[in-house]
Structures are given as structure tokens and as C-alpha cells.
Symmetry: C2
Subunit: 342 residues, 2 copies
């Protein structure tokens, strides 16, 4: 089937909340012609992914927004129908970033060849494409699950979530999740091999549902949704638990401006890592650290400052200096004579 | 100087907000007697640290709270005055966790011997004690600064902050910070070698002040204070920036119950690590990931589910299924015929 024109769906205006029909426009343009080193490809499958909502907004994100009037972006599985590139022949199936349109002209570097013998070609947009790779790298490289640990994943039946859960199971973890319908729950439990999965819409108290699904707490929370579920999961993270922030779909259509720093979305935009620390976790390294720091002090590289207040009885009143800004340097109470001082 | 009794400062009641005198009680008890393997030590220096405020509350933290009527906790530099332990002689200077009192009986395992020749013994409570070790491990193992990166530290003139800044400088980083008086700023700049330091009380717009102090953004934020400064610093973290959450002193005396999951304090309690991820950061590993996942699919270990909707023109309306919960599995638009299907 070859069309005489290229239908394109463009972004007509920036959505306010959930997109409506008027935010898009269907336009017809001539089928483009490939230049040197380029191919013309016909779209077979177009993926729709939650991240596209963010690209419709003109706010800072990890990528530029779709310009007004621009073709909506997105990966496709396409077939090469004209080729000026030695690496691709007419008929080849490729994955590319054609966007919401019938045809695209793309350079060879923008194409990934798909082997139809390996799996249905549509999987190049799902389990063997961006969502699957997100699950794989996100779980294994950010979540770092260890055998026997509990992994919790929200949006558990989704393209990312179901893959996260299964990889966690393959890696020997206990796997729990939540989803929004009984059919999805059954899929997670019966087809994907989750150990537990609950319906967040009907479970009542989400925190309690997580506790039941994860009786030993959560070691890795793979976060897809944000909001109440993410807060409840975070509170049940075990000591040294990890949280891989992949998505916050619950607020992609939010219209009230939240403090973005309180929003997990920012963690994705900048791929930041925030980690709590307590010195007692590092006791094995104390001797070496003290040796190195004492050396820096001896060399004059590291200076320090102390405020010494005399009298144990003054400890309570002195303590508040720490919070009032009136203290300077290390605050110490001298309780009795220092025999090392002359 | 030897006292006939052991003065102890106990926690009389749990403070509401900033502690007041009535929250504590000074009691006198007999000087205790060491048993087998124990020593009696006289307190010389007692440290006062912000974390002690948290120990006065009866809420979940990384350690048990001080019981009502119990002696306030804390590290001391003490001198051994009686010893029933082979490893310690009368006169030895030790660091131990004696708390707010004149004397303590402790087993040998609870004592760390201090060498007075190395540095003034009070440093065992500061730069060569818990605060210094916190700075060292927190910066190097959680913050992971690289030469040339920018490290920002709040409470920059404090026992932890000033050490963080200097270690960052020693490691070849650009160092910026903020503190609460001009004298503290001068200390950071002139004595500790910070590249920039501003007074957060007089700077006006904190975000703007951070931008000026860190023109290339922040690679490592060493967080000591929480609140507005932490939010502004987090927003200026560069791509793949790190934030080591050491303390949130600005809310240690807060009396309104905040959502603790929105509170950085929880990161410390559980030492959790939260990290944003984007699949494109892992492109080098895609080929291996796809190979492994295709193998799991072939073995039946990894299943997937797709929802395919026909017609490019239906993409806009179909897109919202992602947010309405009506989609199940990977959502795909079939734009044209799939030549690989019969």
C-alpha cells in the first residue's frame, strides 16, 4: 500500500491538562524524497508513550519540546521503500524516529535494522525497544537488585513495568507491583510471575496494600507513577533501599504549578542522584580517613575551627546555638580540665 | 580535678520546637565503678551536634530516641581514671560515647584511643571525629566529586561543611558555599580556600546567589540544611549531578508535621538513594540488553503484551488512554500494513 501524500499529525497548540483533539492537526504534505545517504521509509507501527506528553509542553525537560506546527515525535517501525544508503535495501524493516506520520526521510545513522525472524517487528517499540531497554537498564544499573531482595514496581502491567517485574524475577528477586484493573493484576501474577500485585484503585489504603504485598519492605522501588503511590513506597524502602525514578505519569497532565524541586520529575530531567548518608555506615574506612585527614592538617591543607564553652551545666542552653546561627565551627563543651594543655 | 559525684544532664521531657531549659534536668549520681574489662573515664570535652535534636524526639529515625529520664547522648573525649582493661591505662585519652555527664563506665570496645601528639585532643570530636568523617565519606563516597567539578555546600563554615569544602578543594574541585555571617564567609574564603561563599541571610534571592557562586552549575550538592536552600541548589544540579543528604538542620525544630516522604530527612533515616534515569544514557549497553532480552523471550521467561490501534488519524485520541488507565500493555498505532504478517 503506497499513499500519494504523507499524512502528518502536528502539534497545533500546547495542551492544557489532558490533550484534546484541537491540540493536534492532521495535514497532508508531499511524500519526501531521500537525498544522498538517506532512505525513504513507510511507517508500519507508531509507538505512543507517556513521555510524549512532556514534549508537548514548553518547559525545561531532558529534550527540546515539539515546536508548534511541528510533527509529533516518536519511534516507529518502518519499511524502507527507497534507499540511497548502502546499508539498507528496499524492503528492510527498521526502527526509526519518524514521528506521527506516514513517511519519513532519514539518514542511515538514524535507522536500526530489525530482524523479523527474532520476534514480531512491533516488539522493537516495546519489550525489545525503548520501554524494554528502560526497564532493563533502569532496574539493573540504577536499582541494582540483589537476589532475594524485594522489587516493587508501579504501573506494573505497562510496557516498562511488566518488563521490570519479570527481569527482577529472573534475577531472583521477590516482585510486587500495583496496577489499575483486575485484568492487569491477573496478567502480572499469572503471565509475568509477580509474587504479589494489587489494584491501587480498589485497595483502599495504598500504604497498607504495599505493606501486605511487601512484608519484608522494599529494596528497590521502580517508580513509574509519582504521587501518593510513590510516597507510600518510598516510606517503605528498607535501609539502603534504591528508587529508580523512571516516570511520574500521575502528574504529566497536572495544571497547577508545583515546586518542581519537590517533584520527582526533576530527578529524570537532570538524572540526578540524591542519597542519604550516615557516617556509621562507613566505619570500615574510618582509620584510613583519619590518617589522610591528619596528614592534610599537618600539611596545612585542612584547617578547622572550634568554639569551646566551659561547664557541663551550660550544655542545654549552649545546644541551641547550633540552630540559631550563633555558633561558629565545632561546638564543644569543656567538662573538665584538658591534661594535654599546659 | 576529681568530683565526688557524677553530674548528668537528662532529658526531662520531649522538646516542642527549640529545646528550653525545662526539657532537661541536672542530676547528681554516684561515680560509677568499672567492672571486668571496663574502664572509668572522666569527661574532658563533650561535643554538641545538631543530630542530637532528632534523638530527643520519639519519632522513627536511624537510632533509638533518648528515653525520658535518660542521660543525653553524645561523644566525648575522656581520660581513663580507672582501668580493668589491658588495652587502656590510667591517663589514656579516649574518645567514647559517654553522653552529657562527668563520668562514664565503658567496655574497651567502646573506646577509641586518641594520640595527643597528633593534634589537639578536642579534634577527636570535630575534624578528626564524627563531623570530619561525615564530610570525608559523604563527599567522597556519596558525592563522588571529580576534579574540575563544582561542589556546593550549605552551612559551609560548620564542622562538617568547612571540611567538605576543603576536601573538595584538595581534590581539585571548584568549591562554593553559603553561611550565615560575614565572619563565617571570610573564614570559608580566606582560611578554607573556598572559591565563592555567600551570606544566605543577606543575599536576597538565594537561587540567584547560588547561580552567581556556581556559574557552571552544581555537580555535587552536599546538603546540610534542607528547605529553601536545598531546593534552589537541587534545581541547579547539572546533568548527572549528585546530592549527598547529610542533614536538614533547617527543620530539626519544626513543629508542623510535614509529609516525611517529601522531606529529605527520610533519605538519611533509611540512607536511601533516589536516582532519575533516561534510557538514552545507556546506549552503549543497548545491543547487549536486546540480545539478553530476546533470549529470555525465546525461553519463555519474558512475556509482553501489546494493544494495537489501527489508523494514524486515531493517534491523538488514542494517546490519552495512557493516562486514563484504559490502556493495557504496549500501546501502538498501526499506520500501514505489516509485511511480516501473513
Amino acid at each position: 500500500m503506497t499513499r500519494k501524500s504523507n499524512r502528518q499529525i502536528t502539534l497545533a497548540r500546547r495542551p492544557h491538562g489532558l490533550p484534546v483533539a484541537e491540540d493536534f492537526r492532521l495535514v497532508e504534505t508531499p511524500v519526501p524524497t531521500p537525498g544522498e545517504g538517506e532512505v525513504l521509509a513507510r511507517t508500519i507501527y507508531l509507538t505512543l508513550d507517556p513521555y510524549m506528553r512532556g514534549m508537548m509542553d514548553d518547559t525545561e525537560s531532558y529534550d527540546d519540546p515539539v515546536p508548534l506546527g511541528g510533527v509529533m515525535i516518536g519511534s516507529t517501525v518502518s519499511q524502507v521503500i527507497e534507499s540511497n544508503h548502502d546499508g539498507f535495501a528496499v524492503g528492510d524493516i527498521v526502527e526509526t524516529y519518524a514521528g506521527w506520520q506516514d513517511y519519513v526521510v532519514a539518514p542511515g545513522a538514524a535507522l536500526r535494522k530489525i530482524d523479523p525472524a527474532l520476534a514480531p517487528i512491533s516488539t522493537a517499540l516495546g519489550v525489545l525497544g525503548m520501554p524494554g531497554l528502560t526497564a532493563y537498564h533502569g532496574l539493573l544499573k540504577v536499582g541494582e537488585p540483589k537476589p532475594g531482595e524485594t522489587v516493587f514496581v508501579s504501573a506494573a502491567s505497562g510496557a516498562v513495568g511488566a518488563t521490570v517485574g519479570q527481569i527482577a524475577r529472573i534475577k531472583g528477586c521477590r516482585v510486587a507491583g500495583c496496577a489499575g484493573s483486575d485484568e492487569k493484576i491477573a496478567y502480572c501474577l499469572d503471565d509475568c510471575g509477580f509474587d504479589a500485585c494489587f489494584n491501587y484503585k480498589t485497595c483502599g489504603d495504598v500504604a497498607q496494600a504495599i505493606r501486605q504485598a511487601c512484608p519484608d519492605g522494599i529494596d528497590v522501588n521502580f517508580e513509574n507513577v509519582g504521587g501518593e503511590i510513590s510516597r507510600a513506597a518510598m516510606m517503605q524502602l528498607n535501609l539502603h533501599g534504591r528508587m529508580a525514578v523512571c516516570g511520574t505519569i500521575s502528574n504529566y497532565n497536572a495544571t497547577d504549578v508545583e515546586q518542581v524541586a519537590d517533584n520527582l520529575w526533576w530527578y529524570i530531567v537532570r538524572r540526578i542522584r540524591v542519597q542519604g548518608l550516615l557516617v556509621t555506615d562507613y566505619e570500615d574506612g574510618h582509620a584510613e580517613a583519619l590518617k589522610e585527614m591528619a596528614g592534610w592538617i599537618a600539611q596545612g591543607e585542612l584547617v578547622y575551627r572550634e568554639t569551646v564553652v566551659e561547664g557541663l551545666e551550660n550544655a542545654p542552653a549552649t545546644f541551641n546555638r547550633l540552630f540559631e546561627g550563633s555558633n561558629f565551627g565545632k561546638l564543644i563543651i569543656q567538662v573538665s580540665d584538658d591534661p594535654t594543655k599546659g
